[in-house]
């Protein structure tokens, strides 16, 4: 059109030329200035970043420093006592008057002066002194005004033990069969290094015998017992002429059981005596340690996991201790109510459970999303389903745990038990928490994430691709299967990554449906059928909770909380990286250069 229009609403610009020299100050909306908003947004981002990075950094620093060997310090306090150990924490506080009053007369004034010079503040150290069986405590608080003398004894040694926690002392000699063979610390250290590997080997043998050999004997016997029980039940159900045959079967089973029992009992005794001799052998050697009250105590090598002269270690030796501790942490089983030793079963449990969960949730979620996006007609019902899904994502996870316990364990589990594992009753097989139920519960928990994410990606598949396939004469299913799913796969994997991260870090529901403090067996092992879905398992998240808040020796366990958290985060990161790698490969294959 050629007609130029001027809409009357358009504001007239006021210029100074029209109004002479009178400059008219126009009102300008705040929103027209970009910079305050920019600052606001930047600030928000900054705050979020600081919080996230701060948390990660804290976990990283605390978690990775736990295993670094510390020096062993000896404080001589004014009351004449000595404390030998590692400083685990330092803090500043204001000591009360009574605390100073408890000091011996002669030192009170000196201590008051000292405190005054520091404006009443004192530094105190939490010293891990160990030797629980002698002192009934693992830790001591020592304030700086109590200290008379600080030394780092050359031959101060720390022993990490199988039980009773750490032992701190000064190396005094080596014992064989109760006789002291040397009192020279160098010679003692050499003898220790010479003998210790043998002791460790024997300990491993004992572990093997107790756990695997005796374990398999027990399981064989248990199988025979179950057979007897099964026949008993059969007999009870049988009627008429089949009774006789059943009776005979039962008798056969009983005979087999008793003959097996006899045979196994002999074997059992055999193994037991082998274990006893091994144990006796490991107890032959011991180191003599002088503790702070001056007495000398023997520490048998059999009880020792690791030990080192902390104040003599060079940088490389410290690194090797550090490395050794990480290795133990990653590959061994826990000791001492989980506060020491490794977390291998928990790592294993976490990974197996997470993978199993992904295996369940991905097909379910993807199929549900496919139905919602590709087949379901938009309408009230579909909207309701979507809303329900989104709300499901907001349900507290403990509720899923309760549901899992009620539905999976008690309802499904007991039904399965009654049908297939009747002989084992009243001991539940599936009727209690276990790996399978945990995976299913978490699958339910993460299902909304997967569905919503998958739906989004399916919606993002260009319609032109679908039309292209239809135009070639593809059916709906062929289009979905050959075009839509491959194209959406990378995005679906992203959804799975999110779900995995969420699932792997979840603790609350697991406490109800299968994670335990200490699982006697791994969920996958060498005994038929190899994957034991009914077994309870250990989980890193639960482990953190247990170590941090349920532990007797909470002060010693605290660093383990950070280390375990660090590990859990690392595992999630690794799982994610694998998934991201896969996704990127798919992405390159299917999407890359498309504009």
């Amino acid at each position: 059109m050629y007609v130029e229009t001027v809409t009357p609403e358009q504001p007239q610009k006021i210029t100074t030329s029209q109004h002479g020299s009178k400059a008219v100050k126009r009102f300008v909306a705040l929103s027209s200035y970009g910079s305050p908003y920019l600052w606001l947004m930047g600030g928000m981002l900054g705050i979020s970043l600081v919080m996230i990075v701060g948390l990660l950094l804290l976990i990283l620093v605390m978690g990775s420093s736990t295993f670094w060997p510390q020096k062993i310090v000896q404080f001589e306090t004014v009351d004449g006592k000595r404390h030998l150990g590692e400083i685990t924490r330092t803090e500043t506080y204001k000591p009360s008057n009574e605390q100073v009053g408890e000091l011996p007369e002669a030192y009170r004034n000196k201590a008051r002066q000292f405190l005054e010079s520091q404006e009443g503040f004192s530094k105190r150290y939490l010293v891990r002194t160990g030797n629980y069986e002698l002192t009934n405590t693992h830790f001591h608080w020592i304030s700086d005004f109590q200290i008379q003398n600080t030394t780092y004894p050359e031959w101060a040694f720390v022993w990490e033990r199988v039980s009773w926690g750490r032992f701190y002392g000064i190396l005094k000699g080596f014992q064989v069969d109760g006789k002291t063979v040397t009192e020279d610390p160098w010679e003692t250290y050499r003898l220790f290094q010479e003998q210790f590997p043998g002791v460790q080997k024997k300990r491993k043998q004992i572990y093997h015998l107790e756990k695997e050999v005796l374990g398999s004997l027990n399981s064989r016997l248990e199988k025979a017992r179950l057979k007897v029980r099964e026949k008993e039940l059969n007999l009870k159900k049988a009627t008429g002429e089949s009774r006789e045959a059943r009776q005979r079967e039962l008798q056969e089973a009983i005979d087999a059981y008793s003959s097996l029992k006899e045979k196994l009992e002999a074997e059992y005794g055999n193994v037991r005596s082998r274990i006893e001799t091994l144990k006796a052998e490991t107890k032959r050697h011991g180191v003599l340690m002088q503790v702070t009250d001056g007495s000398v105590v023997p520490v048998p090598l059999a009880t020792i996991v690791r030990g080192y002269p902390a104040n003599q270690l060079g940088w490389l030796e410290k690194l090797s201790v550090y490395w050794d501790r990480w290795k133990e942490f990653l590959l061994e089983e826990p000791r001492e109510a989980n506060s020491e030793g490794g977390v291998f079963p928990a790592i294993f449990g976490t990974v197996v459970m997470t993978l199993l969960m992904s295996l369940v949730v991905s097909p379910l979620g993807v199929i549900a999303a496919l139905y919602l996006r590709e087949y379901a007609r938009a309408g009230v019902l579909v909207s309701a389903v979507r809303i329900a899904l989104n709300n499901l994502a907001g349900v507290p996870s403990i509720v899923f745990g309760v549901f899992g316990l009620g539905f999976f364990c008690y309802f499904l589990g007991t039904s399965i038990d009654r049908l297939f594992f009747e002989a084992r009753l009243p001991n539940p097989t599936f009727g209690t928490g276990g790996l399978l139920w945990s995976a299913l519960t978490l699958a339910l928990l993460t299902l909304p994430v997967v569905i919503v994410a998958s739906e989004e990606v399916l919606a993002a598949v260009p319609n032109s691709m679908r039309e292209g396939a239809y135009a070639c004469g593809a059916s709906k299913w062929q289009t979905i299967q050959r075009i839509v799913i491959p194209r959406a796969l990378p995005g679906i994997l992203t959804g799975m990554i999110l779900a995995m991260a969420r699932g792997a870090g979840e603790v609350a529901p697991l406490m109800l449906v299968g994670a335990v403090k200490l699982a006697p067996e791994l969920p996958i092992d060498g005994n038929f059928p190899f994957i034991h879905l009914e077994r309870s398992f250990m989980h890193l998240g639960f482990h953190i909770y247990d170590v941090g808040f349920q532990s007797q020796n909470s002060e010693a366990a605290k660093p383990m909380v950070f280390t375990t958290t660090l590990l859990l985060i690392l595992i999630i990161v690794i799982l994610n990286l694998v998934a991201i790698y896969l996704r990127n490969r798919l992405y390159r294959k299917f999407i890359s250069r498309e504009v």
Binding site: M1, Y2, A378, P462, S464, M465, R466, E467, G468, A469, Y470, A471, C472, G473, A474, S475, Q478, R482, I483, P486, R487, R588, K589, F590, I591, S592, R593, E594, V595
Partner: protein, 299 residues
């Protein structure tokens, strides 16, 4: 905007009477005044066996807005028929109606029918999938699938369950040669099709469209994203395919329509305006509207 216009002379200050006439023509159509389309006898008196596609009184609505208005035309067998018209006039819609792609869009309604070699396309008992297999389509925007070049080309065969490697290989090569793409991709058939350039993707889609030997080839601006050389190749291809296939092609390029097609249909605002042998339509159009469009006076 058009509502403000009325077909009355002298209201607006327009000197050129030709422009005024064109405006009047536009306004006539815009007001839905029924206008008989000018259809050349060469395409009205076709025998049944000379017609591949018979469009009968076809109208289409997207929801409440009508997009196609009672279109009737016969597409002759083995010939190239071009659809021209300004943007938004419904060329793509008409083309997509032929293989019922518009079925996929919610809220589409139609009336009238089309016959493919005498078989109704819109009858309720028609198997749409079988129907679509009888046609090949090249969309306005290239839409390669997320798979290898090879799999893209043989996709129509794959969905028929053909697994014989020999047949697939042969079809792949023949189609790619047909689409003038073979030399460029013969060494990387297993690479992703999405890594091809836009023009190569366009030709790949052409190769895919001819892979299953369709009865009708529907092409929606197949040269829109191609450089002159590739365009020449595609035109060359269409030349070769003429006779063997029936081609219905949408184009914005008058020269292309004039060069390539045997018949040309001019559409405007959802209506068929004029339909005649290309030579006649471009040289001696019956209607003012057609002439204006061809000479670039509007649209």
């Amino acid at each position: 905007m058009l509502q403000k216009l009325e077909p009355v002379d002298g209201r607006r200050n327009m000197k050129d009477p030709k422009i005024q006439e064109s405006v009047n023509a536009i306004v006539r159509v815009a007001h839905g005044m029924e206008m008989e389309p000018a259809i050349h006898p060469a395409v009205t008196h076709l025998k049944d066996n000379e017609v591949v596609l018979r469009i009968k009184e076809f109208s289409l609505w997207y929801g409440k807005t009508q997009t196609l208005f009672r279109i009737s035309m016969d597409i002759p067998k083995g010939k190239v028929t071009a659809l021209i018209g300004p943007s938004g006039c419904g060329k793509s819609t008409l083309l997509r109606s032929v293989n019922r792609l518009n079925d996929l869009i919610d809220g589409v309604r139609i009336s009238g029918d089309m016959l493919l070699n005498g078989d109704s396309i819109y009858a309720p008992e028609v198997d749409v999938i079988e129907l679509r297999k009888r046609m090949g389509m090249v969309a306005q925007k290239p839409n390669p699938f997320p798979m290898s070049i090879y799999e893209n080309v043989v996709f129509p065969l794959r969905i028929d369950g053909i697994r014989d490697r020999r047949i697939l290989d042969e079809v792949c090569e023949r189609s790619l040669r047909g689409a003038a793409l073979w030399d460029e991709v013969k060494d990387r058939l297993q690479d992703s099709a999405l890594a091809l350039s836009g023009g190569q993707q366009q030709r790949l889609c052409i190769a895919r469209a001819i892979a299953a030997d369709p009865e009708v080839l529907l092409m929606d601006e197949p040269a829109s994203s191609l450089d002159p050389i590739a365009t020449a190749k595609v035109e060359e291809l269409i030349h070769q395919l003429r006779g063997e296939y029936t081609i219905l092609i949408v184009t914005h390029n008058m020269q292309q329509a004039a060069r390539l097609s045997d018949f040309t249909a001019f559409m405007y605002m959802g209506r068929l305006i004029e339909y005649a042998p290309t030579g006649i339509l471009f040289v001696k159009p019956q209607l003012k509207e057609t002439e204006d469009y061809i000479l670039g006076r509007f649209g």
